[in-house]
């Protein structure tokens, strides 16, 4: 009993330590920039202000950037779920020539970092005249080797007896996929959906160079653009308010979906 109490105390202490930087960011976001420039310890003097948040919300473009981030994140998540599910089903259940080779090629995509293809990708979207558009922000994220791998493994784990019974009953391949197998993959879909949404929401580099018109900025690019040249010194409070603002949606998502996120992380690690 004593040992378990000690463990709980240690875990609680570790959790508090993890919280300190977040609380520090929140506290700084409620301080005047001029005070922080002279001394960040002024956070303890009790004088707080909402000016940084007022300045953030006073920029009308912020709501456009949130909207863009939502469109891109939901669009990418939906696209990845559709494509990865179809591909996973195909690799797990359908027999076709070159399947194993194709699967290996898809998996090789996991080894190619984004930095290696960014110039070619940029040129391609440039030739297509698609920069500064939602498709340009969404489409590159749809090639998701991890998603295909995850869904393939998940479909493989479902007993084939289900397919065979349905085939005997005259069901088509699509009916088997759509009505029988897909509902069984909801946990995997949740895993993949959460990871894809988080990736899309936090992505900075590709939106930075593809969305150069501020009306097409995502939230990450937009709030970075509002920083002054010496933001970390002259606008520290504003910078922290931006961090809180950008992180808040993810925090809310986590609060509501923490059960699924924990399952997703555990599932992805175990698979």
């Amino acid at each position: 009993m004593t040992r378990s109490r000690l463990a709980i105390a240690l875990v609680g202490l570790a959790a508090m330590l993890m919280l300190v930087p977040l609380l520090w960011v929140l506290a700084l976001s409620l301080k005047a920039n001029s005070e922080l420039m002279a001394d960040t310890a002024s956070v303890f003097n009790g004088r707080f202000t909402l000016d940084n948040y007022r300045n953030l919300f006073g920029n009308g473009a912020v709501f456009r950037w949130i909207s863009n981030s939502l469109i891109v994140s939901f669009g990418m998540t939906a696209g990845v779920l559709i494509l990865a599910s179809l591909a996973g089903y195909g690799f797990a259940r359908l027999e076709f020539r070159g399947r194993e080779m194709l699967f290996v090629i898809v998996l090789l995509g996991l080894a190619v970092p984004e930095q290696a293809v960014i110039i070619a990708r940029h040129q391609m979207f440039s030739w297509l005249g698609m920069h500064n558009s939602y498709p340009a922000l969404i489409l590159p994220g749809l090639s998701a080797p991890f998603g295909v791998f995850l869904m393939t493994q998940y479909f493989r784990a479902i007993p084939k007896d289900i397919d065979e019974a349905a085939l005997l009953d005259g069901a088509s391949r699509f009916t088997i996929f759509w009505r029988l197998l897909l509902p069984l993959t909801i946990p995997a879909q949740a895993t993949l959906g959460i990871f894809t949404f988080l990736h899309a929401w936090n992505d900075y580099w590709w939106p930075l160079i593809s969305a150069t018109n501020k009306e097409m900025f995502t939230l990450t690019v937009g709030i970075a653009s509002t920083q002054m040249n010496f933001a970390q010194t002259e606008g520290l409070g504003f910078l922290m308010a931006q961090a809180v603002f950008a992180g808040a949606p993810m925090l809310i998502v986590y609060l509501f979906f923490q059960k699924y996120i924990v399952q997703a992380v555990a599932g992805a690690a175990g698979r």
Binding site: A78, Q123, K214, V221, S225, N229
Partner: protein, 434 residues
């Protein structure tokens, strides 16, 4: 679930805001966004700070030019990744803010439009610029931009501590005229105040080392670059590094502070002289008008770097408006861009309130500008501020190489001669592989 997937497509359909009856002008700039405070402000004279003044100027231009649909892209400093991407996509803005040190990188690749005739046509020919501003935009005999300002590192001085140290005469700070005088004054300062003479942001911040190195080599008439290649293994280079190594070894400077900590340290009276650029003049001057604090009651002034060697010189850079090439730009859009540049040149005196040095000599000579706090001290920079030669490309990455190497010599991690050798080799590696 199906409806959710269709939502993005539905939202996609409703996103277009073209204004076909107006000429579209796209300008791209850094200096931050401050729409909450200045989003509707068109009174330029009432605006403060880089962001405020820039935003008010753009608002005023929009108000006075209703036939132009001005699209303002505000980028995270310095924004060159985005610009490069835009140029690759032939979707470059009509006007972009660009450092003078970066202009040759784009000009050499034929990515900028020369503006000689346009500048003359809008009444802002290069002859009206200061020599520093003219040098910033001139490459191969052509002007490639409208200069916004010149900035240089300065000696920001805590006059209250200087008085305590006995280094004020007639209300003016006594500045050194040689390295030996600097050491003596720094020793006197330490003896009487118990604090280091210099405040420097030296941790994770290499630009300051580079600016100091360039400045004091320039003061010895040293040639930092010859025929576009680094030339650091010189007596002048050695002297410049030795100067700051001695300052470091004898504890005449604060140590291990990053930029933010150094700003806070100077505001809190940690030392006598803060080596930082023109952009902090307004902030420190405002602090000196308060009644409490280390700079209170007029306890602040600012001077160019003192002349410690043969001649007065300070390394400088500056901000400029340039026009990237864009084959899709129409004559009407180009004309709108020129109207913007003419407007900006006509209101350049307002930008001078940021603390940066004006780009137009007439403004520096004006009583209005001289009446601004400390500007009389800084006017000399119009002739002593000196950018690197234009044939030196990739000046931003070179700054990091020079700064990291200089830092290792000053801290004693590497002998000065080996540092200069490494610095020169690494810089030439970059320049040889352009």
């Amino acid at each position: 679930m199906r409806a959710l997937w269709l939502l993005p497509l539905a939202l996609l359909a409703g996103c277009s805001d073209a204004k076909p009856d107006k000429t579209r002008l796209v300008i791209q700039r850094f200096f931050g966004a401050c729409e909450a405070e200045y989003g509707r402000v068109a009174d330029i004279a009432g605006a403060e700070g880089e962001c405020g003044i820039m935003t008010a100027m753009i608002n005023r231009f929009e108000a006075e030019n209703p036939d132009i649909d001005l699209v303002e892209n505000i980028v995270f400093w310095p924004g060159y990744d985005q610009l490069t991407a835009q140029l690759a996509a032939n979707d470059a803005p009509d006007l972009v803010t660009m450092h003078g040190s970066v202009i040759p990188d784009y000009q050499a690749r034929n990515l900028l439009e020369p503006l000689d005739a346009d500048l003359a046509a809008i009444g802002a020919p290069p002859a009206r610029f200061t020599s520093a501003a003219r040098a910033a935009v001139t490459v191969d005999g052509h002007a490639w931009g409208l200069p916004i300002d010149t900035w240089a590192p300065l000696w920001h001085i805590n006059l209250n501590l200087f008085r305590k140290a006995g280094l004020v005469r007639g209300g003016k700070p006594i500045l050194p005229r040689s390295p030996e005088e600097l050491y003596a004054q720094a020793q006197q300062f330490r003896d009487r105040t118990g604090k280091p003479y210099l405040v420097q942001g030296a941790a994770n911040e290499y630009a300051g080392f580079t600016r100091n190195f360039y400045t004091f080599v320039m003061q010895q008439n040293g040639a930092l670059f010859r025929n576009g290649r680094a030339n650091f293994r010189t007596a002048e280079g050695r002297n410049a590094l030795q100067l700051f190594k001695t300052i470091y070894d004898r504890d005449f400077t604060t140590k291990n502070q990053d930029y933010s900590a150094a700003v806070a340290g100077f505001l809190n009276g940690d030392g006598g002289v803060f080596l930082v650029g023109t952009w902090m003049v307004g902030t420190f001057d405002a602090k000196s008008r308060e009644t409490s604090g280390a700079l209170a009651n007029g306890g602040y002034t600012v001077m160019p770097y003192p002349r410690l060697f043969q001649r007065a010189a300070t390394f400088a850079d500056g901000h400029n408006w340039v026009m990237p090439r864009n084959s899709r730009r129409t004559p009407e859009e180009r004309a709108a861009a020129m109207r913007f540049l003419k407007f900006f040149a006509g209101h350049a005196r307002h930008w001078a309130r940021t603390g940066h040095l004006p780009a137009f000599q007439a403004i520096i000579d004006s009583a209005e500008w001289r009446a601004l706090p400390h500007r009389d001290n800084l006017a000399i920079l119009a002739t002593t501020a000196q950018p690197l030669p234009k044939e030196v490309r990739r000046q931003f990455p070179l700054e990091t190489i020079v700064g990291t190497e200089a830092a290792s010599a000053i801290s004693g991690a590497k002998p000065i001669d080996r540092t200069l050798s490494n610095m020169e080799r690494r810089v030439n590696d970059v320049l040889d592989n352009l």
